[in-house]
């Protein structure tokens, strides 16, 4: 994977014209990150900055990926709008009409995306006039963080497994089992408030860990490829949920549709209240990110899993038990995804339905890829995805643009991220000095 840290040793830029003076200084100066620049070096700082701005480094590729995804999204918005398409039928006669109509529909859609995700100026004005409340001002941010919280967990689950050389596609199944266990603990156990919440979260964690244990132990013992096993377990978990939810004592009394009893209020994640739905889940998500970062960087297990991820054979020779690492890694990853499911059901859904886990497992996969499999990067990516989702809701209700557009945007962003060589080729970027191109961790079944 690409790295966003400057490489320890300055690498020789391979395909850059040496005549360029900016490059000449860049070669002498290994510190490419603006923040780490030595003071009194303004000239080279600026040239470095400009130089790196158009290089295929992590930040540039990410930003360009998002922009390209938005552009393709705009095209989709235009071609799927019959009224706008009509104006294109007389494009040669009056091109202004078509361009105006296109601009209006796209800018309205993306403005709604922004207002729904970050801040709505109208709400701020209303609040300063005294006609609105602060709740309306923070509502978009609250929605963003609400959607982001479960994604942080599932994203961390995938990212952690990646670092150990495993591809955990089972985040979805693990999250589903996590929701099941958390919800069951949430409405079956009669416990006092704080303990009940902890018990429900632990139940979700254990459920997910159990669902992660299966591919882990099979990989360790028999070499069964974790991708195949986890894909199959995803659907098994879904089918199990759709059966369980209709059983007596689980299904909500007096309902004929597939919905479970609601989670006791003592087991729900405390929220700010009112329309501001953001809850303790996002705080837990930040703590989990810190924990995973510590695990990877500072713990013995983290060292082992990175060693196994880098080269299993070498790790084995060095005396690390690869089988044990794989199993433990999948258990940990499963537990994280299970916690993601738990935050979903204890934080926002409050009852099991067949769609309770939504798509958080697969979205977690995208989030991990976008976050370059780093804990804090994953957190940031999850917030971006949460923002897209929250803004997408507003876009759907205000501009009547289907929420599915957000899925398209997310998939496109990740396609471009995963193929940095593609982005580099499209924009004729320079080769980055510190970041290696190519997401090549490819290995077969």
């Amino acid at each position: 994977m690409t790295t966003d840290e400057p490489a320890g040793a300055p690498r020789k830029p391979a395909d850059e014209p040496a005549a360029d003076p900016a490059v000449a200084t860049a070669v002498k100066e290994p510190a490419a990150v603006p923040g780490k620049e030595k003071p009194g070096d303004d000239d080279s700082f600026l040239s470095h900055f400009l130089h790196n701005l158009w290089a295929a480094n992590t930040v540039t590729v990410t930003v360009l990926s998002v922009i390209m995804a938005m552009v393709i999204g705009a095209v989709l918005i235009i071609v799927s709008d019959p009224a706008v398409l009509n104006t294109f039928s007389y494009f040669t006669a009056r091109p202004g009409d078509a361009l105006n109509a296109s601009w209006t529909v796209v800018s309205n859609a993306y403005a709604d995306l922004f207002k729904g995700a970050i801040i709505d100026p109208a709400a701020v004005t209303a609040w300063s006039n005294g006609t609105g409340t602060w709740r309306q001002v923070v509502f978009p941010i609250s929605e963003t963080l609400t959607y982001a919280a479960p994604l942080v967990f599932t994203g961390l689950s995938v990212a952690l497994a990646f670092r150990g050389g495993l591809f955990n596609i089972g985040g979805q199944g693990q999250a589903v089992v996590g929701t099941i266990c958390a919800a069951l603990a949430g409405f079956l156990l009669p416990l006092p408030p704080v303990i009940h919440l902890i018990a429900a979260l632990v139940a979700g964690l254990v459920g997910g860990a159990l669902w992660g244990f299966v591919p882990g132990i099979l990989k360790a013992r028999t070499g069964a490829h974790e991708v195949i096993v986890t894909i199959m377990l995803n659907y098994t978990a879904n089918l199990f949920l759709s059966w369980l939810i209709l059983q007596k004592g689980i299904q909500q009394a007096g309902r004929s549709d597939a919905i479970s009893e609601p989670v006791d209020s003592s087991a729900q994640l405390p929220a700010v209240g009112g329309e501001v739905r953001v809850n303790l889940g996002i705080v837990l998500a930040v703590l989990a990110t810190a924990a995973v970062a510590w695990l990877l960087k500072r713990s013995a297990f983290g060292f082992e899993l990175r060693a196994v991820g880098a080269n299993p054979a070498a790790a084995r020779t060095a005396g690390i038990s690869v089988a044990r690492t794989y199993t433990l890694l999948m258990v940990t990853a499963g537990g994280l995804a299970g916690l993601g499911g738990a935050t979903q059901v204890l934080g926002t859904a409050h009852a099991l339905t067949t769609q309770v886990a939504g798509n958080i497992g697969f979205d977690g996969l995208l989030v991990a890829l976008l976050g370059r499999n780093r804990p804090w990067g994953t957190l940031a990516a999850a917030v971006l995805f949460g923002a897209l989702r929250a803004g997408g809701n507003r876009m759907q209700s205000f501009s009547s643009i289907s929420l599915e557009l957000v899925t398209v945007l997310q998939a496109l962003i990740v396609i471009f991220i995963a193929a940095p060589a593609l982005v580099k080729a499209i924009f004729h970027l320079r080769a980055a000095r510190s970041a290696r191109l190519g997401a090549s961790m490819a290995k077969g079944w």
């Binding site: 989709l76 799927s80 709008d81 591809f167 596609i169 299966v214 099979l218 028999t222 070499g223 069964a224 490829h225 991708v227 195949i228 096993v229 894909i231 199959m232 377990l233 995803n234 659907y235 098994t236 879904n238 089918l239 199990f240 759709s242 059966w243 299993p312 054979a313 084995r316 020779t317 798509n359 697969f362 996969l365 995208l366 890829l369 643009i401 289907s402 599915e404 557009l405 957000v406 899925t407 398209v408 945007l409 997310q410 998939a411 496109l412 990740v414 396609i415 995963a418 193929a419 060589a421 593609l422 190519g438 997401a439 090549s440 961790m441 490819a442 290995k443 077969g444 079944w445």
Partner: protein
């Protein structure tokens, strides 16, 4: 997994020891004995002592095979136990597969006797339903066979199905032609396959990652266009003509087989013909030999002058056409209109059929028929109000695949270079 390179003298003497007692056949034997005992001792007492009728038609009428439910359950359970015991005792090694099949058949029949006791099961309807449900699975799995035998992992079958189903509905309606629909379904699958091929082969992105992301892209694209176009104006965008059933005079009059095989739609035949064609192609033609060479050892293939990347492009794109046509099943045959996420994981069952069928066309056909039967049975049971939840039968494909890849009953092995991009040095 790669073998440990630090073998000591002790390890070597151990590997030279005589074959283990618990070899594959004996482990299989234990499994078959266990399921046989479950059938006899659990299903038997549960089965009501009423007649189970298996009618040779599409409904309750006509000739039927009848048996007392409880008797049949126990009898067929015992067949499974005996077959398992034969395997366990290490007898009949030459007929291992046949004995194994007999054991599994005994278990399935025992289960059926239990469930059908006091009711009837129309065999023709079951068989044709099985075949129809298997059609998209076969086509999807064949797409996987083409890609993966040449070394490109294809987990985007689900996305190809969705694009195929969407394209069939959209173009089929606009052109009011089922054949235009089928063609554009294939093109829809081709689009996803082209993205997969370019990203995986040209840009060396991890193939599983690309596959998963393309699934989401197809889900989002079709869902978005469905809501923008089809939901607002279904008659002009989402009412494709249905695929006609063709009856071959003469052949269709053969009992049971006739109505199943010779009174059906084109997609069924297409799937069956493609199974034979791809099997023949892979094993008997120059293209097949090259495909397998590229999938097993691309460097060696390149050395003798085979264009590795070109062949991979070709195979992935062909697979896209086939999987896209499989997607047409959902709109042109099964339902008659497109719906958001209507494939609902069928692409992953096709992937399971591919793996369970050991990456071979006939294996994939067998697995797809098995999974199709499980789905058909699940529908039958839920309609018949069975005590066995249909969800557990629907889990069968997934669980069977996990058991297969875990090597609990004989390991399945992917092509050696499956999923590894080829970088010419």
């Amino acid at each position: 997994m790669t073998p440990v390179s630090t073998a000591t003298v002790d390890d070597l003497t151990q590997t030279a020891a005589p074959a283990r007692f618990w070899d594959r056949q004996r482990r299989l034997g234990v499994g078959v004995v266990v399921i046989g005992l479950i059938a006899t001792a659990v299903f038997g007492p549960l089965a009501p002592s009423q007649t189970a009728r298996f009618t040779l038609s599409e409904d309750a009428e006509g000739a039927a095979l009848s048996i007392n439910g409880q008797l049949g359950t126990i009898l067929f359970g015992l067949v499974a136990v005996v077959a398992g015991a034969v395997l366990l005792a290490g007898l009949a090694r030459r007929f291992q597969t046949s004995v194994l099949s007999l054991g599994i058949l005994g278990f399935v029949l025992s289960f059926l006797c239990w469930q059908v006791a006091g009711k009837f099961l129309p065999l023709v309807d079951t068989a044709s339903g099985t075949l129809e449900l298997a059609v998209p699975l076969v086509l999807g799995a064949l797409a996987g066979v083409l890609g993966e035998r040449s070394g490109v992992v294809n987990v985007a079958i689900e996305g190809q199905f969705l694009m195929g189903a969407f394209g069939a509905a959209l173009v089929g309606t606009m052109a009011t032609s089922v054949w235009a629909g089928l063609l554009s379904a294939a093109v829809g699958g081709l689009l996803i396959a082209a993205l997969l091929a370019v990203l995986a082969i040209r840009y060396l992105v991890d193939q599983v990652v690309v596959g998963i992301v393309l699934n989401l892209l197809a889900l989002g694209m079709t869902g978005f266009l469905y809501e923008r176009l089809m939901q607002t104006d279904a008659p002009s965008y989402n009412q494709p003509p249905r695929m006609p059933e063709w009856r071959i005079p003469g052949l269709a009059d053969i009992p049971v087989v006739g109505p199943v095989l010779f009174d059906t739609n084109l997609l069924v035949w297409l799937a069956l013909i493609l199974v034979f064609a791809i099997h023949f192609g892979l094993t008997r033609t120059r293209w097949g030999l090259r495909t397998r060479a590229v999938g097993e050892h691309p460097t060696a293939a390149d050395t003798v002058g085979i264009r590795v990347r070109g062949l991979r492009y070709l195979n992935v794109l062909l697979g896209g056409l086939i999987a896209g046509a499989g997607g047409a099943y959902f709109t042109l045959v099964a339902t008659g209109s497109f719906n958001k996420n209507m494939t609902a994981g069928a692409g992953f069952i096709a992937l399971a059929a591919l793996i369970f069928g050991r990456w071979t066309p006939f294996g994939a056909l067998g697995a797809a028929l098995f999974f199709g039967f499980a789905q058909k049975l699940a529908t039958y049971l839920s309609v018949a109000g069975s005590s066995v939840p249909s969800q557990f039968l629907n889990m069968l494909p997934y669980l069977a695949t996990i058991i297969a890849v875990a090597g609990l009953v004989g390991r399945v092995r992917a092509p050696a270079a499956d999923g590894q991009p080829y970088i010419k040095s």
